[in-house]
Structure formats: C-alpha cells, structure tokens
C-alpha cells in the first residue's frame, strides 16, 4: 500500500498511542523497584494491547478470504494492519521491559522483530515498486499470463522468420500467433537467409524460451541493440520491417523478464512475513497460556 497523505490520520493516531504508551511506560518503569515486568498490571496491559494489535493485523488474511462480505473496506483493514502491526512492537517491548526473557519469549521477540521488519520492508516495496513497474514495464501483462504471452511471441517470431527466409516449417506455431503478421516476402541470398536463421535458432529462440537467464546477450538492451545493428548489415533493406519486429519481440521478452523479477520482489517478501506472522500468533497463544496458567 502506498504510504501517502491519506495515512495522516493513522499516523497521528499512532503517534498519540505511542506517546501515551511511552509516557505510561516511563512513569511505570521509574516507579517499579524491580523494574518493569510483563506480569505486573501495567506490563500485562501492554501485552494484551500488543497482542490485540497483532491479532488484528493477522486478521487481514481472513478478511481477504471474504472479499465481498461487508466487514469494512479492505483498505481500512490494510491501514489498520500497517499501523497497529507497527505499534505492536513497542507495546510488546514495553510489555517485556525491553528484555527478551526465557527461550520462548526470546523466540517470540525475535519473530516479532522479523515480522515487523519484513512488514516494513514489504510496505516500502509496495510504496515504490508499483511505480517502478508502471514506468519500466510498458508491456506489462497479467503475471499468470506471461507464459501464454511468451508462447504467442515465439509464434510471432517463428512466423516472421519463416516469411522472411522463405522457410515453411514454422506453420505449426503460426496457429498460436497473436495477430496476423504482414511480412513482405524477400528474396534473400542463401548467405543472408542462413545468417538470419542461425541467429534466430541459436540466439533469439533460446532467449524467448527464457534460456540463458540474465547472461544471455539479448537480455541486455545495449548488447541486443548491437547484435541487431550487426545483423542488419548482413541483410537487405527490405527486411528492416521484419528486423524491427524481431527487435520489438526481444524488447517485450526483456520487459516480461523485468516484470517477473519485480513481481517476485513485490510479493516474495510475503513468503517470510506471512508464515512467521502465523508462527508468532501461535507461539504468542502458547506464551499467554503458559504465563496465565503458571
């Protein structure tokens, strides 16, 4: 979620809560001879409030499972998740008096720090990366459709090469071509046709099949441009339109790769944040049970 001026109310409310809690904690810590403790009334209250914030933050996942049910707008839940989740860290620190305690509470504290830190990291990613993706990936498609788009691109490229070199073996993939491709059939010399075919079979097609990763020469805009400039010198002027189309297909593939990378960044952090959050909530329950019983 983008953190913009629409978060002002939440920011102010959070600062007030933090300020009040800090004041209470300072007063309480100064007044406690044995130092602050989670077992004291104030410490327990901090623990309850912090847990409640964590539980609320955790409920966002449940809210997302019921998108249509009118339980409040999802964005309100998200704002609550962000700010109350963030506030849970100082609350729990106040609860434990900035001490990690025994093994279970130490694990809990480490988990909480990781969860909050990963959440902050995710929030930062969500703040900056959508903009980055919008600017850098003009040919963005639905993430799940990338393989399908790639199949269409390969079919387009096959059709272009077949039409340009006069080869007829690309007919099968032409069925999958995304749009009819108007290509002027050019009488290429054997040498030129062979150069184009070699480039396509050895370089471009593997690249479109996502082989070679980022080290592939066509994966870099600069080196791809140089390759196409060199190739153009070998081919007659009539093939320029086809070469431009092939270059565009390579650019689209680079953009799809970029989108894949950005998408993984944008959503990958959740692989850490979500399971650890659930582990935190589960262990938090264990801790509460143990603390209240014993």
């Amino acid at each position: 979620m983008r953190i913009d001026r629409t978060h002002r109310k939440w920011l102010v409310a959070s600062l007030i809560i933090l300020g009040v809690a800090s004041a209470i904690y300072v007063f309480y810590a100064a007044r406690s001879p044995a130092g602050p403790s989670g077992g004291s009334a104030v410490g327990f209250t901090f623990g309850m409030v912090g847990s409640a914030f964590m539980v609320f933050a955790g409920l966002l996942a449940a809210r997302k499972k019921l998108p249509v049910v009118r339980l409040g707008r999802a964005q309100s839940w998200m704002r609550g998740h962000l700010w109350l989740g963030l506030l849970s860290l100082p609350m729990i620190l106040f609860h434990g008096g900035f001490r990690f305690g025994g093994p279970l509470t130490s694990v809990l504290m480490i988990l909480l720090i990781i969860v909050v830190a990963s959440g902050l990291f995710g929030a930062a990613l969500q703040h900056y990366m959508p903009n980055m993706m919008t600017a850098e990936v003009q040919k963005e498609t639905i993430f799940e459709q990338i393989d399908h788009v790639r199949t269409g691109m390969i079919a387009d490229a096959d059709a272009l090469i077949a039409a340009t070199t006069g080869a007829s073996d690309a007919g099968a993939t032409r069925q999958a071509a995304r749009a009819p491709i108007a290509v002027q059939t050019v009488a290429l010399t054997q040498e030129a046709a062979s150069a184009l075919s070699n480039f396509y079979v050895r370089e471009m097609r593997p690249f479109l099949h996502n082989d070679g990763g980022e080290r592939h020469p066509l994966a870099d805009t600069g080196s791809a441009r140089a390759i196409f400039v060199e190739l153009r010198t070998l081919l007659p002027g009539e093939t320029q339109d086809a070469m431009k189309s092939l270059e565009d297909i390579c650019e689209e593939e680079r953009q799809l790769r970029r989108q894949t990378r950005l998408h993984h960044w944008l959503h990958g952090w959740l692989m850490l944040h979500v399971p650890l959050s659930f582990a935190l909530l589960l262990l938090g329950c264990v801790h509460a049970f143990m603390a209240l019983r014993y």
């Binding site: 979620m1 998108p67 249509v68 009118r70 964005q75 998200m78 959508p130 639905i142």
Partner: protein, 725 residues
C-alpha cells in the same frame, strides 16, 4: 413511354396482355410471364448489355430489339418466337459456333456449354461460315482457371462479374474487330495479373473460355446421411435452373441432400456452423431451449454475512430500466419466435440458416425434424449463387410476403397495432433488397425515399460530424431505420451501411406516408422514438465536443458512465479485485485486470459503452442492445452462444453458466437438467453501495469514477486526481 398512374405499363407479349412496372426490360417482362427468351450475354445478376443479340424479339420496329436492354413501352406488342426471330437467332448461333471449338472444355467437363446447348437445340452440327481463330494461345498461367480465348464469344459476362459483382476490375475488353478479346489487366497472363482467383469470371462464363483447372472437392461431410446430388439432378430443381454447370461441378459436395428422421436435431442454437438448409420435403420445428431470462444479481446484503448470488429472472419477475417488451424474437429463419412460446414451424420451400452460412454467426435456434424431412444443406458459395438467381429469390420473397412479413412487422413494437388489412396491402408493394458487406444502403444528406426494416444481417448507422464519423448504432433483425428523414420529409440524417450480408424490407415513401396517415398512433410512437434517439445523440455529441479528446478518450473512455480505474502507482497486482468480482458472481469474474492505460491509470475491463459497440454485431437473436443511457442490456432471449463476449475487444462481457431444467429434445415430453449459459456484463454490484472490486482492494488502488468528471479534472493543468475521484 407512358405509364399509368400506378406506374404500370401494359403491353402484349406473344398474345398475352401483361402489366409490368415502368422501366422493366422486355426480357424480364417475358420472364415474369413464364415466357423464356434465350440469351447468352445476359445474366440476372449483371447489368444487361445486349451484345450477343440472342435475346432479340420482334417489337414491330424496323429491326429486332435485344429484349434484355429494351424497356417496355405502353401498348407494345412483342413477339418472342416468330419464325423470323427464330431464323435470326439460328444465324447468330451459327456465326458464334463458326468460331467456337466444339466440344469446348466446358462441354467436355460438365456438358453444359450454353452456346453448344443452343446449337444442339437448333440441330446445328455444321456451320455455313468459315471459322476464324483469335490467334491467341490458351492461357494456363493461373493455378486454378484455364483460359481458352478461342471459346470466348465476347459476351462480357466475365468482365461484368469481375467488375460489377466482385469489384476487382481485372478483366476487360481489349482490341477491336476480329482481334477483340478479353484481357487481364493490361494484357497480362492471367497468373501474372492482379487476379485473385475468386472464380467469378469462370462461374459467369457461358462457354469453355474460362473453366476450372482443379476440382476443389469441397465437401460438407461424409457418411450415409450426406448424399451427393449429381449436377444434372441439381439443375432440374427450379432454384438451380440457370446456375452454371461448371460452378456446380466445381462445388460438387458443397450441396448435399440430407434425410432427417422425425425428432432428429438438424442444428442446435449457439453452435457455430457454415451451412444453410433448404427444406425440400417435410416439416421442422424451430425453437429456443435456453431459458427466457436474464442474469439477476441478488443478495441478502443487509445481513452480516450476506452474499450476492446470480439467478435467472424473467422480465415479469425482474423489470429492468428501459426493458423492451418485444413479443417476437428474431431468428435466422423466415419466421420469428414468440417470447412466451419460442416455437415455430418451418415447411417445404423454407430456407434457414442464411446468416450462419453467409456470415458464420452461431445458430440462432434449435431446429428439429417434426416429420421425416429431406433437405438440401449447402455451403456459402452455393447459397450465394442461389441468392443471385431471380427465380429462387422470387420464391423466397413470395414465401416471406405470405408467411413472415406479418410477424416481422408486428415484432417491431411501434408497428404492433397495424391492422391485417394494411399489412395485406403492403404485401405486394414492399421490396426485399440485399446488400453486400460494406455496401451503403442510404447515405446522410440524400433525399429520404424509403423506410427499411432489417430481415437479415447487421447495419451500422453512422453520422458525419466535425472531426469524423461517429457510430450511432448497430441494428439487427427486426430493427428499422430511415424513418427520421421520412417523418421530417427531409434528407437522410445518417449513413447506413451493411456490415455483413444484409437483407432489408424496403417500404417506399408513399406506403410509409399512407401508414402514418391511417395509423396516427404509429406516427406518435415513431416520433417519440425519434425524439429519444435525437436526444441521446445530442447528449453524446455534447460530451465529445466539450472535452478535449486524445487517443485514449476517442477509444470510448469519455463515453462511459462509470469506469473502473486502477491506480498503477498503488496497485500491487495482487488481483484482490478480480477475486472479489469472482466471489460476488459465483466464481465467474466480470473483471480482468488488463486494458488501456491512461496516465498512470489502468482502465480495467468493465463495460464502457464504446463509441463503436462491436459486441452488438453478430448476435444471432438480437438480444444485446444499448439502453438509451448507453449501458448495455442483454435481453432474456440470449442463447448463450458467447459471440458478444468474443466480439467485445475489452473482455467486458462474460458467459455465466446456470443449471436449469429444459425439454429433452431427444425424448420429447421429458425434461432434463442441463447447463445453460447467459451473457452478462458488469452490473457495478448495484445491490451494494460500492462495487465489490473497489471494496476489496486493500491498496486503495481501485476506483469507480465518473469518467467525464475524472478525465476533465485530470486534463486540467496541475491536475489533482484525488480530487477528481
């Protein structure tokens, strides 16, 4: 020539007094009386040129007249078959046969060279005249058509077929006198010319000058139910009379005879097909089995865990804004179906499936054999040729006038109150006219002389304004146009163009005025509809003129009532909006997170009421239309074929499956559970205060906006988009 007050001319042909419309040729006047006049250069679907002179008749003048180009005159006495006339024709055949290699290629292939057939009829085996060769070799450069210049009789049928019918203008006459002949482009070999091998010249040629090199073996299907009909037998059928044997040979297998047992399904609604059926014997039952209902999204929204659900609702149960109360459903057959009981009967002589065959639309209804039936099933090329045959057309028109005109006119709500007497009086005066794809039916600014009711196909209505042409509407079967100019007694206010193969019922200005005079209520209704259309058009124009347009806006964004915009700087591409939409509509999302981009906004799919609403083109039952608010409405008789969903370039129409009980066509009288589909588009979750997609977006990226306000704000210098929202 002087015609009587009713525009008819009286003359005598072979002793019979006849009355025909002024301007009719003597040839057509005789044909209408069943008097055959031989001809070689004249084809019913081409402009007559009168070059072969074979159709000469004695009109009492100094010389014989070519009947195909000679218009009738009042009091004219025509003799089509006198001894003198016969002698003149015989001499002409002899002269033509002198230069004709006999048997020519066509006579060898299919035995139907028209010239040689005439020679056989006149027992001409030898000619008194010396043969003359053109000196041009045969041209075999085309992969599909063989040219034999020696067989050419310079009738120009191929030239007119190429230019008039197909608009290719590859063929023309070249040279004078004895060296005159046909030529491709500027005398090129056919294979090297700009010929596209459409075959029209070959089909038009009466001799073996242009014949097919390769028999294409077009076949409809194999098996015992597909019976190939020999060319000779086809030519015996009245509606194949005059169709080129070369054509029928070339297309053997493209028309088959099929036997259907009682109860057997001939075609099913929603299926894609490419053939038309002509009933030779028996009766068939045409019906729509998809429930007469539309998709209604309902929900117990006031309850805490209340959810939306989609149900089928009839118009009696759920009345929508601007609901039409059309009683008749247009289908691809000579009859319409009733909303309350969508079943009708087809009889021998009926042709159905024309739109499917000509324009490849899905079948509009299910047809089942009511008795044992014999039918001809044909592909488009055969139907196309048949439609050009005036005898066949006359038979179809007669059937339409007698059986369908009544229900067709009454299917239009404004004409529902016409009396039987009035419709009877229209029967003989209305005209059925056909238009090819792209052909202009009437043009903006021309004098309004007719009213048109669409029988088959789709018509695009456009208006020319400063800045370009705007599509006002797409009209389909049972919709009408041309009334505005007639009501105002002025010029046409829009241009109407055939989008596909269109057939219209043309009612002349006089009949239209008579109708308005006799039925003032029809005038009132027409005027009300016209006012509403004008108001809507003015509103749309005002929108377009008041807002700066750019590439995106011209794509329909400004036209929309409500747009779903995704702010790409906030959207994390989590698809929560898509999942929410699917959740709100029983797993069928009406939203796809892809579409046009404007600034940093993605215009996600949701109906945007395009300037050019392509979704409305091709609906086989005309169930998708615009409300006057421009929002798309899908009528109850949607058959779920999915063509509108396919046609919508933005994926804004979805097909929703429902489990319903329908009549089991395989065992009449029984019902069975089936999954039926209905088209539906985004309803903005009207049951809720906010659409589910927006409500479920956790990142404040999804917004429903009023595009006019939003884009106008966005286009201002230093725009604040939040304010616009």
């Amino acid at each position: 020539m002087s015609a009587s007050a009713n525009g008819l001319v009286e003359l005598t042909i072979d002793g019979n007094k006849v009355s025909v419309a002024a301007g009719t040729s003597v040839f057509d006047a005789a044909r209408m009386q069943g008097i055959p006049i031989p001809t070689l250069c004249h084809q019913q679907n081409e402009t007559p040129v009168g070059v072969c002179r074979m159709c000469v008749v004695d009109v009492g003048a100094r010389v014989f007249a070519a009947s195909c180009v000679r218009p009738v005159e009042a009091g004219m006495v025509v003799n089509t078959n006198s001894e003198k006339v016969q002698r003149a024709r015989r001499t002409l055949v002899e002269l033509l046969m002198a230069d004709h290699p006999s048997p020519c290629t066509r006579e060898q292939h299919s035995g139907d060279c028209e010239l040689e057939a005439m020679a056989h009829r006149d027992n001409i085996t030898r000619t008194r005249f010396a043969p003359h060769s053109t000196g041009r070799a045969k041209d075999s450069s085309s992969p599909s058509i063989a040219v034999d210049f020696d067989s050419c009789i310079l009738c120009d049928r191929c030239v007119r077929g190429c230019g008039e019918i197909r608009d290719h203008f590859v063929l023309a006459r070249m040279g004078k006198g004895t060296v005159a002949g046909i030529a491709f482009d500027d005398q090129r070999a056919m294979g090297e010319s700009s010929c596209v091998s459409c075959g029209e010249c070959m089909v038009s040629c009466p001799t073996g000058a242009l014949t097919n090199k390769i028999f294409t073996h077009t076949a409809l299907g194999l098996g015992p139910t597909f019976e190939n009909v020999p060319v000779e037998e086809l030519q015996q059928l009245p509606f194949f009379k005059g169709v080129s044997g070369t054509f029928l040979s070339l297309n053997r297998g493209a028309v088959v005879r099929r036997q259907f047992r009682r109860g057997e399904i001939i075609c099913r609604e929603g299926e894609y097909g490419s053939t038309a059926f002509y009933i030779l014997e028996g009766k068939a039952r045409v019906s729509i089995s998809n429930p007469m209902a539309h998709v209604k999204t309902k929900g117990v929204v006031k309850k805490f865990l209340g959810k939306l659900s989609s149900k089928l609702a009839q118009r009696q149960q759920d009345q929508r804004d601007e609901e039409t109360y059309k009683r008749w459903i247009p289908i691809d057959a000579p009859v319409d179906l009733e909303y309350d009981n969508p079943v009708a009967e087809l009889n021998a002589g009926d042709l159905f499936g024309e739109m499917t065959c000509m324009s490849l639309y899905p079948r509009s209804a299910t047809v089942r054999a009511e008795t044992d039936c014999t039918m001809l099933e044909m592909l488009r090329n055969v139907l196309d040729i048949m439609q050009r045959n005036k005898t066949f057309r006359a038979q179809l028109e007669k059937s339409y006038r007698q059986r369908a005109l009544d229900s067709h006119l009454r299917a239009v709500p404004v004409f529902a109150e016409l009396t039987d007497e009035f419709i009877s009086s229209l029967r003989e005066s209305v005209e059925l006219a056909r238009y090819s794809p792209g052909q202009v039916i009437c043009r903006q600014g021309e004098p309004a002389d007719s009213f048109y009711l669409i029988r088959i196909g789709f018509v695009k209505v456009t208006q020319l304004h400063m800045g370009g042409e705007m599509v006002m509407a797409y009209l389909s079967r049972s919709e009408y146009f041309g009334e505005t100019g007639l009501l105002r007694e002025d010029v046409r206010t829009a241009t109407c163009t055939a989008l596909d193969h269109v057939e219209v019922v043309r009612i002349g200005a006089n009949d239209f005025k008579r109708m308005l005079a006799e039925f003032p209520q029809v005038r009132e209704k027409l005027e009300a509809v016209e006012q509403e259309r004008m108001k809507m058009n003015r509103a749309r124009l005002a929108v377009l003129q008041n807002v700066p347009l750019d590439d995106f806006l011209t794509q329909g964004l400004m036209e929309a009532q409500s747009l779903l915009l995704l702010d790409l700087t906030s959207c994390t591409r989590c698809d929560a909006c898509v999942r929410a939409c699917a959740d709100a509509h029983e797993g069928v999302t009406r939203l796809v997170r892809e579409g046009l981009r404007f600034d940093h906004y993605l215009v996600a799919t949701s109906c945007r009421q395009c300037l050019d609403p392509l979704c409305m083109v091709g609906c086989p039952v005309g169930s998708i239309r615009r409300r006057n608010s421009l929002e798309v409405i899908i009528e109850d008789w949607c058959i779920g074929c999915g063509l509108c969903a396919e046609n919508c370039p933005y994926g804004n129409i979805n097909i929703h499956p429902f489990n319903v009980m329908v009549e089991d066509l395989a065992s009449p009288g029984h019902r069975k559970a089936m999954v039926k589909q209905k088209a539906t588009s985004c309803d903005l979750c009207t049951e809720y205060a906010e659409p589910s997609c927006v409500y479920a977006c956790p990142h404040d990226a999804a917004h429903r906006v009023d595009p006019r306000k939003f884009f106008a704000e966005l286009l201002k210098p230093g725009a604040n988009t939040d304010k616009a929202r």
